[in-house]
């Protein structure tokens, strides 16, 4: 933005200490697992050890007899009302009914006086299973005679999509160069440091309070109420401090519902904390994707047509999958202008833990495939990788082929800043052997325009209440602070509008008992959506303050200004000022630190209003404006957002040609976040995204054995980066003025992971001529490729996804033949 706005701001666009951080640094911050209630019991869940089986019988008699056990629940004792993420696909029950669909499916639950007794009781539950044929990969799932994981979905197809805009065949016919490439990733996990924890307590009146580690208090409240058949108002969900989410805590989980059931059954509070293995089995993180992309360009590198065939291995349940499959198509419609696009995709069920959403939902592996292919095209045409991206870029004011209107979009600035800051021009084609530099761009939504269930309610409502004595305000928002810093953002916005210091603003969030509904922390929506509601609520307070002084001073409101905790303009009439001040002082004469001079304070004026009419409240709501999306591109409503962020990553790497060892030397990430609210938090998101992107590029893979059992369910075997794996990095904040954002702000938390993976892939190609088209990129894959390249005496070698990826994509192509895309 906009120097003018920056200059006018006193709180926004700075780097204050975040709210809650001193508490976190001293151990005072209470996460769900830190909370105890008198008489509390400990819950534990029995999971299926088999990927696909009928449950013939569950014998809980021995478990029930174990001293200290207070309840043992199976499907017979509890509600079997279905729930899930997308209302069109509610396909889960809290405890398995009749059959289990993956290793880790919840079969029974126990509450006991301590954790050890609860775990011991699990071992005494005897379950008789009849094993069923199981499916661990998408090609088996899509077979004509495949066993069905859910009876109602033939060929295990959870969802299919066939879309076309323009005319791709015509585009390819006119192209100078056409390439087809395939790509795959592996199922990955969120790996939040805090395992899911939940504490449920039914009181004597049947009111339920649920403390839980969630990104979405509202959806948890709603889901629990649906399954337990309770009025929603009798369920209070409180998200205490949350130790990271990244998407895996963005739905109600069965563990949350089970804890409520155990509490209801025992009439005691029940705390249930997942261990790390359970976290891996429960998390609905990134899908395993398969992509085949065909791109046609003219001889100058202008993209003429793009065709994308994709299969998503969704695991045993739908979870977020319906959104994922649509995002997987729509998130390729920018940051490049492509008139002719086709997308065919299948999301299939397999007997593995379900996949859902993770940071950069539905936009990571497709982006990696696209950008790696674009780089190979640039190389063939001898065009600089930065230039080919600038040439194809969209910009603010453009509408994509999927109909998305880009109201702000500083992609070219991101590219140029990252290029200049990294020394791209000096490095590209001038690095010593084994060193390489690579670039990628991307874009993301700033909040899903449509809510998850169909509703007309605003996506955010915020209430601000002025302290009774006027000293400060409290913001009440149902949004979720999960470590990303949203409470601080809303505090800063409120302080800015009311001319207060950040310290004068308290924020209470994530508590459905105190706060109005907000849909929560997913799809990078809160800064824009909750932010707009916060700004409106603060302005409603400001209006009341201005009206009061205007009335007392018989001057128009425009004569006054809220700044530094004062109401400037009130010193224009010293008689009136002294009258008001003396009254405040008299009323508060036993207090110290009363103001003696200068314009009236916010507190002095607020107290006048309180004396007239009691509490001063301000309310703000946000619903997205009429967001544009193309009716021609089916499902383009998924991906339609009030605003779009854009970002560029440049990676520098070294490849050891003897061992295939890969070192990431440096990462640069430039991100257009609209107007920057909390600069240090934004840097933190960019740095965290570089690390997270590096992690998905090089390490992350949930490995299953031939029976669907997870082989690496620990943070020792499932690798995420340590301090030794992360290079020095440079985060660049690029600002724009987003007209739909509060103060011009938009998202930062998710989009910036997207360009990191392909920038690394492209840097490796630059370093050694090897293109790794399957994540994670291991030294082994690089070394194999280097050897194959040498044997073929070729300039370039492409490491393709394994053979079964081809079979999966061939099967998808066969099934989609003749599918109408319109």
């Amino acid at each position: 933005m906009t120097e003018t706005t920056t200059k006018k701001c006193s709180v926004l666009n700075t780097s204050p200490v975040r709210k809650g951080v001193p508490e976190k640094a001293t151990g005072q911050a209470k996460y769900t697992g830190d909370i105890s209630l008198p008489g509390m019991l400990y819950g534990a869940i029995l999971h299926s050890p088999i990927a696909h089986a009928k449950i013939l019988n569950i014998d809980v008699s021995r478990a029930k007899k174990l001293p200290g056990v207070k309840a043992v629940l199976t499907t017979k004792e509890v509600s079997n009302i279905k729930f899930g993420h997308s209302p069109a696909r509610f396909d889960e029950t809290a405890l398995a009914v009749d059959k289990v669909r993956h290793v880790g499916d919840e079969v029974a639950a126990v509450a006991a006086v301590d954790e050890q007794t609860a775990r011991e009781a699990l071992e005494l539950i005897k379950v008789e299973y009849e094993e069923l044929p199981f499916i661990l990969n998408a090609v088996d799932a899509l077979a004509d005679n495949a066993p069905l994981i859910h009876a109602e979905y033939p060929r295990n197809i959870c969802q299919e999509v066939h879309n076309e805009v323009g005319n791709v065949e015509k585009g390819f016919a006119e192209a100078y160069l056409v390439r087809t490439d395939t790509f795959a990733n592996k199922k990955s996990d969120g790996a939040c440091l805090e395992p899911q924890a939940t504490l449920a307590n039914f009181d004597i009146n049947g009111n339920l309070t649920l403390w839980t580690s969630t990104q979405v208090s509202h959806y948890v409240q709603r889901t629990v109420a649906i399954v337990l058949q309770m009025p929603i108002d009798k369920v209070r969900v409180i998200a205490p401090y949350v130790g990271g989410g990244f998407g895996v805590k963005a739905s109600a989980g069965s563990h949350e519902i089970i804890a409520c059931m155990l509490s209801q059954n025992t009439h005691c509070p029940v705390r249930l904390v997942l261990d790390r293995e359970e976290v891996f089995m429960h998390n609905r993180a990134r899908h395993q994707f398969y992509h085949e992309m065909k791109m046609g360009v003219d001889k100058y590198g202008k993209i003429l047509a793009h065709k994308h065939l994709s299969v998503l291995d969704g695991g045993a349940y739908s979870s977020f999958g319906i959104a994922t499959i649509y995002y997987n198509g729509s998130l390729l419609h920018a940051p490049y202008a492509i008139a002719n696009m086709r997308y065919d995709a299948y999301r299939v069920f397999t007997n593995k833990p379900a996949s859902g959403a993770l940071r950069g939902h539905g936009g990571l592996s497709n982006r990696a495939c696209f950008e790696a292919q674009l780089d190979m095209i640039a190389a063939e045409l001898k065009i600089d990788p930065v230039e080919i991206r600038i040439k194809n870029s969209v910009q603010a004011g453009d509408t994509t082929a999927s109909g998305y209107y880009l109201s702000s979009f500083n992609m070219r600035e991101c590219l140029k800043e990252a290029r200049d800051s990294s020394g791209w021009v000096k490095k590209k084609n001038h690095l010593p052997k084994g060193k390489g530099i690579g670039v990628s761009t991307s874009y993301f939504v700033s909040g899903a325009g449509a809510s998850i269930y169909r509703t007309d309610i605003p996506q955010s409502t915020v209430i601000i209440k002025v302290a009774d004595d006027g000293n400060g305000v409290t913001v009440y928002t149902g949004s979720n602070e999960i470590g990303q810093g949203s409470d601080t953002v809303f505090g800063m916005m409120t302080a800015e509008v009311l001319g207060l210091a950040l310290e004068d603003v308290k924020v209470i969030s994530g508590d459905t008992g105190l706060c109005p509904i907000d849909l929560g922390a997913y799809s990078s929506r809160q800064t824009l959506m909750t932010g707009n509601a916060t700004k409106q609520a603060a302005e409603a307070i400001k209006t009341q303050i201005l009206e009061k002084v205007s009335q007392r001073y018989h001057l128009p409101a425009s004569e006054f200004e809220l700044r530094d905790g004062r109401i400037y303009g009130t010193e224009k009439n010293m008689d009136e000022l002294n009258l008001i001040r003396n009254r405040y002082k008299f009323e508060h004469r036993h207090f110290t630190n009363l103001v003696e001079s200068g314009p009236l304070t916010f507190a002095e004026v607020a107290r006048l209003i309180y004396a007239d009419s009691g509490s001063i409240l301000g309310k703000g709501t946000y619903r997205p404006p009429d967001i544009q999306y193309s009716k021609e591109w089916k499902g383009s409503v998924v991906g339609a957002s009030p605003a779009y962020s854009t970002q560029t990553c440049i990676a520098e790497v070294t490849v050891d040609s003897e061992t295939g060892d890969l070192t990431i030397d440096h990462l640069t990430l430039a991100h257009d976040c609209g107007f920057a609210i909390n600069r240090k938090s934004i840097e933190g998101q960019l740095e965290g995204s570089m690390c997270h992107g590096l992690s998905e590029a090089l390490f992350e893979e949930m490995i299953f054995d031939g029976k669907g059992r997870l082989m690496n369910p620990t943070l020792g075997d499932y690798k995420i980066p340590t301090t030794m794996d992360v290079p020095d990095m440079h985060a660049i904040i690029i600002e724009s003025n987003e007209p739909n954002g509060p103060f011009g702000a938009k998202e930062v938390g998710e989009g910036c992971i997207l360009p990191v993976v392909p920038a690394i892939i492209n840097a490796i190609r630059d370093a050694c001529g090897v293109v790794i088209m399957e994540l994670p990129i291991t030294s082994e894959k690089i070394l194999k490729s280097l050897k194959a390249k040498e044997a073929a005496k070729a300039e370039q070698y492409i490491y393709k996804p394994p053979e079964n990826a081809d079979r999966i994509l061939e099967r998808a192509a066969e099934l989609s033949k003749g599918s109408s895309a319109r």
Binding site: S15, V17, R18, G20, V21, P22, E23, K24, A25, T26, G27, Q28, A29, K30, Y31, G33, D34, S36, Q116, G190, A191, C192, L193, E194, P195, Y241, V242, G243, G244, F246, D275, R276, I482, G483, Q484, G485, K680, S681, E683, G684, E687, G688, S689, M690, C691, H692, T714, L715, G716, I720, P721, T722, T723, M724, V726, D728, M729
Partner: protein
């Protein structure tokens, strides 16, 4: 089998009844001591969130049996600030923006204390090496390394001032 052990936790003497398979992390967080600032992320020694100091040295408290700690001095995150005044390392983490979700923070800060007690002026590489057993998913470690550097500086300055 349960047995009484003696522990000095944050300069307070405790006599505690512990089970033979109870870990130090469980004991610290449990009802007898109730110091929940120590976090548990994996219970296998992979993540470092449960790092505490035992006789000044960092340990993963999930890998130490409570009975093994008998007679030792334990410092948890609650013991670092004195009379409501933050330790300079805590200040450095807060001011550097090194805390996001905060779940790794207590372990990180205690690891930093152990490092700076033995090596008051670590290089960035030495900091990286010292923190290899403490995972963070939010920050990318960049600001954590900055915080340790800045804490080293402010602790150094303090010593200079005292002299």
């Amino acid at each position: 089998m349960k047995k009484y052990i003696k522990l000095n936790i944050n300069s307070n003497e405790y006599e505690l009844l512990v089970a033979d398979n109870e870990t130090l992390a469980q004991l610290l967080r449990g009802p007898q001591v109730n110091l929940t600032g120590t976090k548990q992320g994996c219970e296998l020694g992979d993540c470092g969130a449960c790092t505490v100091l035992m006789d000044g040295k960092p340990v993963n408290s999930c890998l130490v049996l409570a009975m093994q700690a008998n007679g030792h001095e334990i410092t948890t995150i609650e013991g670092l600030s004195v009379n409501g005044k933050l330790h300079p390392i805590q200040e450095a983490f807060i001011n550097a923006g090194a805390v996001q979700c905060g779940y790794c923070t207590p372990g990180m800060i205690l690891k930093a204390k152990a490092l700076l007690d033995t090596n008051p002026n670590p290089s960035r590489t030495e900091i990286r090496e010292a923190f290899v057993g403490n995972l963070c998913r939010c920050t990318g470690y960049f600001k954590i390394i900055n915080a340790v550097e800045s804490a080293a500086q402010s602790l150094g300055n303090k010593e200079v001032n005292a002299k």
